[in-house]
């Protein structure tokens, strides 16, 4: 444990030198910089204000797994507490991804009745969690062709839904009205369609 602490000393010192903490004169700090400030200064209010920015999302994720308002509120507070007690061992590059991974992990573990052991997720964990589907990325010509090719291979409703959503730029509701399926069906068709697309693209490459 001691070795670990010693090992992590230099980067923290480095942080002190590189971050000039003057909140009044630099109000445009990024969330990650603010988080670093909080880690250095241990000012709970800085973190509370950061957490507020994402609280609606955290609460939403808790709602998804808890299905009950008060339980979801409690979970949100638990996540806040966990984040507050957490001593990050490496700098956080993407605070939103970090909060997402922690929130989702907390809710899943709680649901399974397991104890949550660590909050130290690697960057890879976060990247995985926030992975962007090729179809959601910017237009890249090679992929565009691949996408079109794979799109044709999709099953009827999945193809229609993905096509309407990404090519015709229609909203869920418009698609649901047009294809006479429920809104949730539209969403799940898009999700499944995207998954199949991804598999197809990976096979083609």
């Amino acid at each position: 444990m001691r070795i670990l602490q010693e090992f992590h000393k230099p980067p923290i010192n480095k942080l002190v030198n590189t971050t000039i903490i003057d909140l009044a004169n630099a109000p445009e700090l990024s969330d990650e910089e603010l988080y670093r400030t909080y880690v250095l200064e241990k000012d709970k209010e800085i973190f509370a204000n950061l957490f507020r920015k994402y609280m609606a999302l955290v609460f939403g994720v808790c709602m998804k797994y808890e299905r009950e308002k008060h339980a979801a509120q409690d979970s949100t507070m638990e996540i806040f507490e966990r984040l507050l007690q957490h001593q990050p061992e490496r700098p956080i590059h993407n605070l939103k991804a970090f909060i997402y991974v922690v929130s989702k992990n907390h809710c899943l573990m709680k649901k399974r009745g397991e104890k949550i052991i660590t909050l130290d997720f690697s960057d890879a964990d976060m990247e995985n969690a926030m992975e962007v589907h090729p179809i959601d990325m910017g237009e890249q010509e090679v992929q565009e062709e691949l996408l079109k090719k794979c799109l044709k291979k999709l099953k009827d409703l999945q193809k229609d839904c993905v096509h309407h959503f990404y090519i015709n730029k229609k909203s869920y509701q418009e698609i649901s009205r047009e294809l006479k399926v429920t809104l949730n069906a539209v969403k799940s068709h898009i999700q499944n369609g995207k998954r199949n697309l991804k598999i197809c693209i990976e096979n083609e490459q």
């Binding site: 973190f47 806040f80 969690a129 959601d136 869920y172």
Partner: protein, 333 residues
């Protein structure tokens, strides 16, 4: 406390279908790109937007409490230590006073006893209504109302300390009418106590407490007890105060405007008795009064009306949100 954030605004406007189809589509594209948002939307779509807002408002308050709790604990600890010390010295002082040994009590009182500052306060008190207050204090602490008592008998330390707040309240009250509680309060909060060391303040708080009790007994003007409570709250957070430069809370637009607001917006219903309601409260992040407490009740309807006035009233500039502010709402005419 109303929770606001950029993302909540957009989620709400999406749910409330305020957006056009293209805007809705843009939001949905973002959902598809951002799994955090997507999962959150899956969870939130079962709730009404008003429920979401309410749930987040409540969370906001809990977050406020949580991120400040350590400070609170510290205050309580400081207050507890102060109380123990006060209790100890009081017992010691009373015992010393009864034994009537001028030598021992004299040495104890020496470090705080300064007749030059305390004596004038006695004189000032003589033509003040607060005289009644000092009387009842003296009943408790066995002091003669005459100023010569100090010379005749070496005073125990607690008695000496007891003069300080009395002096303060009388000099402050000197140019004020009893119907002017708000200005009273403001004066008292302006009065400077920060230089006094924490120990002295702890003593003062005890002394003030005894005054407050006796005041209730003789039912003095509530404006006085208000001031006393203000002092009490100041003393209890003495250590925090000495660190921050100017922790005085003031309503936006100034005290005079606030007093006018209270006067003009008070809704009297028939059957309300004459009198005053004393309230205390703290502030949320925006300076809106929260956790309003009735310190001195008049009647149920009056209390409710007073709370309504405070809660719906102007915001405050509160540098120290955990400072409890005391306000008197008068129900006259």
């Amino acid at each position: 406390m109303k929770h606001e954030s950029d993302i909540l605004k957009r989620i709400k406007s999406y749910f409330m279908r305020r957006k056009s189809a293209t805007e809705a589509h843009r939001f949905e594209r973002e959902m598809e790109r951002d799994p955090f948002l997507y999962e959150a939307m899956e969870g939130l779509e079962d709730l009404l937007t008003s429920d979401i807002q309410q749930a987040l408002d409540e969370l906001d308050d809990r977050l406020d409490e949580r991120s400040q709790r350590r400070g609170m604990v510290f205050t309580w600890q400081a207050a507890a230590i102060g109380l123990v010390i006060v209790a100890g010295t009081t017992v010691f002082a009373i015992l010393g006073g009864q034994s009537n040994d001028p030598d021992t009590t004299g040495t104890q009182g020496d470090y705080k006893y300064d007749p030059r500052t305390t004596q004038p306060s006695y004189e000032a008190m003589d033509d003040e209504p607060a005289y009644v207050v000092s009387d009842s204090v003296e009943d408790e602490d066995e002091i003669e109302p005459s100023s010569t008592s100090e010379v005749e008998q070496a005073p125990p330390p607690v008695e000496m300390v007891a003069f300080e707040p009395v002096k303060e309240s009388t000099t402050l009250g000197g140019d004020l009418t009893a119907n002017d509680p708000l200005q009273n309060e403001m004066r008292s909060s302006e009065s400077d106590e920060e230089d006094v060391e924490a120990g002295t303040l702890a003593h003062t708080s005890k002394a003030v407490e005894s005054i407050a009790v006796s005041e209730d007994e003789v039912s003095m003007a509530p404006s006085k007890s208000l001031q006393v409570q203000e002092l009490k709250s100041k003393a209890s957070s003495a250590r925090q105060k000495s660190e921050s430069a100017d922790p005085t809370s003031a309503p936006e637009g100034g005290m005079d405007a606030y007093r006018a607001y209270l006067k003009n917006n008070l809704q009297r219903t028939t059957g309300m008795p004459l009198g005053e309601v004393v309230l205390s409260f703290e502030f949320d992040r925006n300076g809106t009064p929260k956790s309003v407490k009735v310190e001195n009740s008049l009647c149920t309807a009056c209390d409710a009306e007073a709370i309504r006035l405070i809660e719906q009233g102007p915001k405050w500039n509160a540098p120290d949100r955990k400072e409890r502010v005391f306000i008197t709402v008068s129900f006259d005419r």
